[in-house]
Subunit: 264 residues, 2 copies
């Protein structure tokens, strides 16, 4: 069992380190709060795994974060967020992907929203369900983009191959005249410039980075009892379940600073 | 605990289903033997995981296969094979990658061998060590090719993007005048035609498919006590630790027949 903590922090649950890009933005926008990060790197990526496997890992992560002192948890990995839908937890668990869908509905004017995500997210039909719960009149067009993660992990951010892959992935969404495109994974924002070119300048891009500030601000204003309980300070803590060399390198690159990753 | 079995079979330990391509070849060359397959799909891919994580999973797989009746085990996943190096087991555990390196040394005439593999295999420096144990005079040139698996899984076998990625990956090996190229993963053989074009017609390709027949034949001749103990029949059994839709589809595609995948 994990040791309990009396420091109350904002917990981030992740699988593949993409959440670190989100944390960079949270630290930037809310420098007063402490972050508690856990990525289940020994088990992810979850793109090609079944719901049962993902749920077990997500619940382990939630359990760890609560015991370590998370007062609220933001699930940055979309696959984990989806399977946690009806899980009962002791602290509020926020699915980043829910906020993304909400933002997309609010921003779209022609009511045609595109969503790019992993196979697991697209196959779950989550995007349509979440958007239609808010507005049944929105047409949701999805595309699985499983090659983006491997390309990003390789650092091939500006290569011709990456541009070609994005062109292929986005062609249909472009033809179907979406006016809003949701990037479900924080790491996709590393390709945002090329995505914007390939999908067209008139399309608004909704990314975890663009929404986290205003949505987290509003959440904390609506829940003053949680806001009050959050510890002030800069002692962010970063945990992973597998701290191999590549994980350490990517963590520093994506967070933009050297960090101490603890393996549990 | 797993239930024990009295059927003695050839066990195949895998992570990402690539071993099914190997099984197709084994069934073709040795139709009399029964195969017992286990892929730890709930935990793999192991490309970006540390040695501790991979070893734990590999040992779980070995344990399962032995209890189910494996009389010998062929480890088709190179990452798993490497970490099992000094593990003591009750039945012979054969690393496919060892056979590949042995074959490459025998086939190379200019003593310049190229190896393509995942990051975990390349970073471990396994290829050089294994080859230098046989012949210190062989120059080993390696290249990590992590994008091949995602491209193959997507079925992008003949796309321009895949050709471009292979050209990039193989350019240096081509310039350094290797005469032998080792494909460490059985799934790479699905791209063998393009690999042959990009690396040059004069380069001999050593693949799991090309070596499994003669090496397994010799192994069984050298160990008649094992050969004698193997059960005859066609009741192959296929187990995975996560049987999601994509796993089921790929399994049928790569083995070339519909199979019943049991989830454990």
């Amino acid at each position: 069992m994990f040791q309990c903590s009396n420091d109350y922090m904002i917990g981030i649950l992740d699988s593949n380190l993409g959440g670190l890009i989100l944390i960079k933005e949270i630290i930037n926008k809310f420098p007063e709060y402490q972050i508690l990060y856990f990525a289940h790197t020994a088990r992810g990526p979850f793109d090609n795994k079944g719901e049962g496997t993902i749920k077990k890992c997500a619940e382990q992560g939630i359990d760890f974060l609560i015991k370590k002192g998370a007062k609220l948890i933001i699930v940055s990995d979309p696959c984990m967020a989806i399977v946690l839908k009806d899980t009962k937890t002791k602290v509020p668990v926020i699915s980043l992907i829910d906020w993304l869908m909400d933002s997309a509905v609010k921003k779209s004017q022609n009511k045609r929203v595109g969503v790019i995500a992993s196979h697991a997210v697209i196959n779950s039909d989550f995007a349509s369900k979440a958007i239609h719960q808010i507005d049944k009149g929105v047409k949701v067009l999805t595309k699985a983009t499983p090659l983006l993660w491997p390309l990003i992990r390789e650092g091939w951010l500006k290569r011709a191959v990456t541009k070609k892959v994005l062109k292929t992935y986005l062609y249909n969404l472009h033809c179907k005249q979406i006016d809003t495109l949701v990037l479900t994974d924080p790491v996709y924002s590393l390709l945002q410039d090329i995505i914007q070119i390939k999908i067209g300048r008139q399309v608004k891009i909704i990314s975890p980075i663009s929404i986290i500030g205003p949505y987290l601000q509003k959440f904390l204003e609506d829940k003053p009892e949680i806001k009050k309980g959050l510890q002030k300070g800069h002692k962010h803590q970063f945990f992973v379940s597998d701290a191999n060399c590549q994980v350490k390198t990517l963590a520093s690159q994506w967070l933009g600073q050297k960090i101490q990753l603890k393996e549990i």
